[in-house]
Amino acid sequence: MSPTATWLAVIGASAVVYALKVVGHLVPEHWLAKPRVARTASLVTVALLSALVAVQAATTGKELVADARLPALAVAAVALVLRAPFIVVVVLAAATAAGLRALGMA
């Protein structure tokens, strides 16, 4: 993607996200406050983030791949179970993948 196209995407996406915030402040409560709307939005967030975990951890381009990212993700999950802070989880995952690759894993 060219720098100009990336800039357009950055500006466009930022405008969309800001517009959504403003809409929340301008519309009266009515339908936004309904539990089912809130619940669906919450589930969409879960689905997007979960799909992003899968794509980031187990794909390269259009291929499904099992490499050092999967054990790193497992270490991250253990850290989360132990209630480690976000930054610790991320650093542990990076260190695991880096260590396994230094040992020769893909």
């Binding site: 996406a13 539990p35 809130a38 992003l52 989360l80 989880v89 991320v90 995952a93 990076a94 993948a97």
Partner: protein
């Protein structure tokens, strides 16, 4: 709304402990706001580093933290672009993740009571953390203090640490050698974790599992970015069609959530 009541109960209990409403109560709110801002701001480092690794410039990375200012949307945006996705898919994914900020507006707007330019500023600061701290307070003055201190604190620190991360990421070279591709996956896992763990997350866990299967199954056959969007469509179907239970949380807790 159960978690709002739970939050109020917790805030009242904390208020009693520090001496009730008034000055001491206000100091407790500010202290909470600053600790939330520090914890959240700090992981701006990982966003900044991962963004330049995904191919964005430092200026583009900073534009995202200043203008988009919503961690989940920002991570998703660079995730889709980094995987080779089209601009449209990246914008759609960021927008869908940003939709929940729109649901926070009706919760915080009545507490803030602002108009005009200050309302536009309040909108930009309406994120998981500021909403969580504001709605956890038991009186309006504390809620306002919590919203503005948390929102402004996260904004300043998130942007400062994004810059630091972008500079560091630029200096590193091959991201795979440092495991930064695995760090991106771990970041998304940490963002979704508070929403699927615990006794109230049963439906969320089902949706998460379904989303993983859908995304992996579609990856070989669709353009990059599309599998993630289809997974979101599945969640909308589940949200609209399945019966609701009373104990599903709809308000963010301010522990380990997305800014």
């Amino acid at each position: 709304m159960r978690s709002v009541r739970k939050g109020c109960a917790r805030a009242r209990w904390a208020g009693v402990r520090v001496g009730g409403v008034g000055f001491d109560g206000r100091r407790a709110v500010v202290r909470t706001s600053i600790s939330v801002a520090l914890a959240t701001g700090l992981y701006g480092v990982s966003f900044g580093a991962l963004s330049v690794v995904a191919g964005l410039s430092t200026a583009q990375t900073m534009a995202l933290s200043l203008l988009m200012f919503s961690g989940g949307s920002q991570f998703a945006f660079i995730g889709v672009l980094g995987a080779g996705g089209a601009a449209g898919a990246a914008i759609a994914t960021a927008g869908l993740l940003g939709a929940r900020n729109g649901l926070y507006g009706p919760q915080v707007a009545p507490l803030l009571g602002v108009r005009g330019g200050r309302r536009l500023l309040a909108a930009q600061l309406t994120i998981d953390e500021s909403t969580a701290v504001a709605t956890a307070q038991s009186d309006v003055a504390d809620a306002r203090a919590g919203f503005w201190w948390t929102g402004a604190g996260v904004f300043v620190l998130w942007n400062a640490f994004t810059l630091l991360g972008a500079v560091l990421g630029d200096a590193l070279g091959d991201p795979r050698r440092y495991g930064l591709d695995a760090a991106a996956a771990a970041a998304f896992l940490a963002l979704v974790w508070p929403r699927v763990s615990g006794p109230t997350g049963a439906v969320a866990r089902l949706v998460a599992g379904g989303a993983v299967l859908v995304a992996l199954a579609l990856t070989p056959f669709t353009p990059a970015g599309v599998p993630v969007l289809v997974a979101a469509a599945v969640a909308i179907l589940v949200g609209v069609l399945t019966p609701m239970s009373d104990d599903e949380p709809t308000t963010p807790e301010h522990t380990g959530d997305v800014p």
